[in-house]
Amino acid sequence: MKTRLAFSLALASLWHRRRVLALVCLTLTLSVSLLLGIQYLRTEIRQSFTSTISGTDLIVGARSGQLNLLLYTVFHIGDATNNIRWSTFRKLQEDPRIDWLIPISLGDSYRGYRVVATDSNFPEHFRYGQEQPVSLAEGEWFSDVFHVVLGAGVARELGHQPGEEIILSHGGGRTSFSNHEDTPFRITGILEATGTPVDQAVYISLAGMEAMHVGWESGVAIPGRTLTPEKAQGMDFTPDAITAAYVGLKSPVLTFQLQRALNQSAEEPLSAILPGVALSELWRLMGQFEKALLGITGFVVITSLVGLVAVLLTLQTQRAHEIAVLRATGASTGLVASLHVIECVALALVSCLLALAVGAALLTGIAPWLLDNYGINLALRPLNPTEWALLATVPAAAALVGLLPAFSTWRRTRSQGLGEISGQ
C-alpha cells in the first residue's frame, strides 16, 4: 500500500478540516491532560506519602492497632489510647539493640496545630523522604524549657518569627479556651518545609511539656499552683510518661526480633509497628479512591474518543466525493479506509503532545504556589514507564475506534461503481 501517500493525504485532510476538528482535539487534549495529570499526581502523592517518615525502624506506643498508632504519631490525627511509662522508655534506652530513640509526647495544641514534645534526637535522627534530615530554616533548636520550634507550615500560616512569644493551649482543637497563659514559650527556630506533617506541628522539650502542666493535674489550671518561667528555673521536669517513641536500630536485621519482644512485653502492653508497612496499609485504604478517580478519567478519555468517531463518521458524508475521486484515480479500498485510522491516530497524537505541554505548563505554574500554600512539593520530572504506557493507550485506542469509520468506508467503497456517491 502507498503508505507515504496515505499519510500525506490524511494529514492534508486533517489540516483542511482543522476548524471542525479543533474542538474535538481540544476535548481530547483536556481529557488526556486530566488522565495524565491524575496518574502523575497519584505517583507523586504516593511517593511523598510513603516517604513521610524514613530511617525509623519501629514506632513504639501503647497497645493499639498499627494504623491508629501511625496516624497519631506521624500524621497527628486522632489521639493516643494510652501512654508509655517513663521507666519503660528508660529501659529501651539501655537496650543494646537500639541505636537511638526519639520520644514523642502529645496532647496539647497551638491554634489547631499539634504540640509535639520531644528532645534533641528529633533533629538529629528523624528522617523523611530520601533519608533527608529535618533542618532549621531560621534560628536554632530549643535549648530551654520554655523554647518552641515551629514547623514551616505553622510559621507560614500564622506569620511567626523567631523571638516572638506564644501561648500554647491545653488539649487539642482549633479553639481551645484553656490556655497555658502563665507559661509563654519563646520561638527559637523555624523548620525548613518538608511537605510532610512535620510542617504542621510545633516542637517543645519534654521538660517544657511537664512545666506547663504543673498545677493542671485536675485538668484545669488551679490559680496559684501553676508555674511562671521564673519559678521554673532549676526545677527537674522528668516526665512520668510519654506518648510514643521512634526507634532506630543498630542493625535492621533485629527489627522483627525487637518488634516481637516489644509486642510481648510483660511490663506494659506495648505496640511496635514498622512504619513502612503501616504506611502502605494506609495507602491501600486510600488507594481505592484514587484508583476510582483514575477509572473515571479513563472513561472521560473514552467519551472523547467516541466523540471523535462521531465527528469522523459525520464527516464521511462530506468526503464521499473525494473518496470517489481517489478510487477513480486508482486508490485501493484499503488506502481510502486507512485514511480514517491515520487521521484518528494523528489527532490522538496531537492531543497527547498538547496534553503534555498543558501538563508541564500547569505544573510549572502551580508548583511554587502549592509548596507555599500547602507544603506539597510537586516537581516537574520525566514521565515514568507507567505514565508513558498510559499515554500510549490513547493513540492505540484511537486506532481501534478509527477502525469503525475505516471499516464502513471500506465496505461501502468495495461495491461502488465509478464516480458513484452513495452517501450513507
Binding site: 484515480t329 485501493s332 479500498t333 461503481g417 465509478l418
Partner: protein, 237 residues
C-alpha cells in the same frame, strides 16, 4: 506487480486496441434485470463518443470499463488486459496505471492544491510516474499551462476555482503520465458552450499528442463530430 503489467502493456502496445468490450452484461442486484451493452472496439489513440440519455446505463458501463465493477457476462480488455481476470487489488492498480477519469463535477480532492491534484496519479502509480517527463511537478505545470490555468492558481485551494477551471484541472490529472485510455463521464455538462468547446479541443488535442484514447460519455449529440467513433446507448433495457 510491475513485471506482469509491463508484459501486458508491451503486448497492448503491439496490439492495436485501447479498448475492447464484448457481450457485456451486468446487474446491480440479482433481483434486477440484466443490463446489456453494445460491443466496443477502439484502436489505440482514437476517441469514442458514447451517447445516451440518462438511465441508459452510461455510468454502469463506465464502472465496468474502469474495473470498478466486474461484468456478469462478457469481457472488457484495456490495452490487451482482460479486467475481469484481475482481482480487486490488481484492478485498482491497473486503473491507477492505465486509466484516467474525469467526472461531471467534484473532480478534485478538496484539500490538495491544483498542482497536487494533477500529480496524484504519479503518486498512486509507478507506471504513470515512469511515463512522466521530466518530473511530475514540471509535467503538471506544463499541462496546467496548456490548459490555461493561470500560474497563481496552481497552489491555490481547488474549491476556490471556477467549475471550468476545476474541469480543466481534472483533465490535466487524467492526462498525467499518458495513460492508455481516459474515461470522461459528462465532463462538459456543467460548462457553458464556449467553455465546453474549448475544453473538448484541449482534451482531445492533448490526448492525441500522448497517444491516449478518450471514451467520452455525453447526452449531447452535437459533440459527436469531434470523435472518430460514435456509439449510441439505448434507453432502459
Amino acid at each position: 506487480m510491475t513485471s506482469t503489467t509491463e508484459t501486458r502493456l508491451s503486448r497492448a502496445r503491439n496490439g492495436e486496441f485501447a479498448l475492447e468490450a464484448r457481450d457485456l452484461g451486468f446487474r446491480w442486484a440479482t433481483s434486477q434485470p440484466m443490463l446489456r451493452f453494445p460491443d466496443l472496439t477502439i484502436p489505440r489513440g482514437e476517441h469514442l463518443f458514447l451517447q445516451g440519455a440518462s438511465g441508459s446505463g452510461k455510468s454502469t458501463l463506465l464502472s465496468l470499463l474502469s474495473g470498478m465493477q466486474v461484468p456478469e457476462s462478457g469481457s472488457v480488455s484495456i490495452l490487451g488486459s482482460e479486467l475481469q481476470r484481475l482481482g480487486p487489488g490488481p484492478r485498482d492498480r491497473f486503473r491507477a496505471d492505465h486509466i484516467g477519469v474525469i467526472f461531471q463535477q467534484f473532480n478534485l480532492v478538496p484539500y490538495l492544491s491544483a498542482l497536487a491534484n494533477v500529480t496524484l496519479p504519479c503518486r498512486l502509480s509507478r507506471v504513470r510516474l515512469g511515463q512522466t517527463r521530466p518530473d511530475p511537478d514540471s509535467a503538471a505545470k506544463e499541462l496546467l499551462g496548456l490548459l490555461a490555468i493561470p500560474e497563481d492558481h496552481w497552489h491555490r485551494k481547488v474549491t476556490r476555482l471556477s467549475i471550468g477551471q476545476q474541469q480543466r484541472i481534472a483533465a490535466a490529472r487524467a492526462l498525467m503520465g499518458s495513460p492508455g485510455i481516459i474515461l470522461a463521464d459528462e465532463p462538459t455538462s456543467a460548462l457553458d458552450a464556449d467553455n465546453r468547446d474549448r475544453f473538448l479541443d484541449l482534451l482531445l488535442g492533448l490526448a492525441k499528442e500522448r497517444g491516449t484514447s478518450v471514451v467520452f460519455v455525453s447526452h449531447d449529440r452535437s459533440l459527436s463530430r469531434h470523435f472518430h467513433h460514435q456509439v449510441h446507448l439505448g434507453g432502459k433495457s
